[in-house]
Symmetry: C2
Subunit: 257 residues, 2 copies
Amino acid sequence: MPIKEADLARVRELPFLKAASEDTFRRLIQGAFLQRFPAGTTLLTEGDSVDFLYIVLDGTVELSGTWNDKETILALLGPLSTFILAAVVLDASALMSATTRDRSDILMISGETLRRVMHEDAAFSFAVSQELAGCYRGLVRSMKSQKLRGGIERLANYLITQRVRQGNAETITLPHEKRVLASLLGMTPENLSRAFASLADYGVVVNGPLVTIGRLVVLTRLAKPDALIDNHAPDDMRGRGKALLEAWPNQPERMTV
Amino acid sequence: MPIKEADLARVRELPFLKAASEDTFRRLIQGAFLQRFPAGTTLLTEGDSVDFLYIVLDGTVELSGTWNDKETILALLGPLSTFILAAVVLDASALMSATTRDRSDILMISGETLRRVMHEDAAFSFAVSQELAGCYRGLVRSMKSQKLRGGIERLANYLITQRVRQGNAETITLPHEKRVLASLLGMTPENLSRAFASLADYGVVVNGPLVTIGRLVVLTRLAKPDALIDNHAPDDMRGRGKALLEAWPNQPERMTV
DNA sequence: TTCCAGCCTTGATCTATGTCAGGGACGATG
DNA sequence: CATCGTCCCTGACATAGATCAAGGCTGGAA
């Protein structure tokens, strides 16, 4: 699948590629290729050695981990997210599996090339550090949410975050299947169902993938959102400006759970 | 407190500083200072803006997060660990609090200087990326452990990891108070106590801070350690060689919980 | 020495969460 | 249209984990 000019322009706007010199960018793109995958394709299995940096141009990718026949979703990535950057930088094997959830267009950049150009373009290298730092901080937030909050509270905060992202509409659309959301939030689908039921007392009405937050104040009092855990950066502020560089480094869809 | 030559030599061996040029290193050190803190000193509170990169030269530092009057320990750092690097790179505020557990000697490097020299020394910048990538992957491991395993399994794996670290001796010494360990492992002290009691059936004998693993095979069958979650890199292999750069990037004491 | 505070353990109890089983709604397919 | 599969919800139950209360141990301070 040929890489269109428009695609190039889009990825060029990614903070960590924006910082790259013309030459660096050209070299990164030269060995890159763009591929379309159907839903459900496994791009990478945990333990695999990693040869490419992946960039989601379209679709959704799920990052998951397994142990002892159990699986958990660690992140859900939408367009203009990169993934597996840490493994590429260290030339190490993947700690997570990556699977497409929808049909997805993925740009793949040679890891070897990436490491090489990093040694020659300090500004680019710095931007990669920022990208990684943002990923790290996203995970710290998730970890805090996971260890400090109960399931209902995690869900309540998820809903509030989605609400902000979706323009503060009273009714939001869940961007993923409920069982996927459950795994992301660290609970079983059954439990998520019950958690939604509990939230009825707080003005939350569920209708399939549509969730109406009737009394935001009440829900917020339960959720107790925290700037050091939750990341409410709205859609149209993502990926722009230093203040928000950290907020949604490269995973617009990654949820702080 | 003056910075001794011996201290400089030690930090120079840190992978991410080893990659720095003489000039870069000199500039980093010029504005740095070394300070001794008593046990229990708060170096940084979550939400604070971060002006320095911290390096533990001696002692122990605890990284913790709070929400709704609850607290959890996210990492425990021993000598030659850096911390708060991600916030420094992004010039963002801290997501975790940092507190000394023992009397500790801490080297503080100006964050502003660090960012500046990164723009001029690509090799150094790359090494910082590797450091951050290692931190990120450490957290991914923790997250998987937290979401996929139960408390007893987390403890069992912790013990096995410690055993490897402490030279495969049958009896290991817990490096921290049990209530601290409990928080790190994501459980209450009471529960940790009971978890230890359960492990008696698997040949684990506890005597204060001394833990004897009588039948490693039996314990291992319970723990099901996994190379993609647990990090068994022994003490004398830390911080050396590319293969292990990732393993214990900068937190020799950080536990994958 | 005596006293006290902090740490750890233990038992009883409660709550949150997981597991299992059943059934309804919906959409794809024949 | 009928059927099947998937997703989701719900109830009953089991288990893990948290909480509360009490008591033992130990090490430092008076």
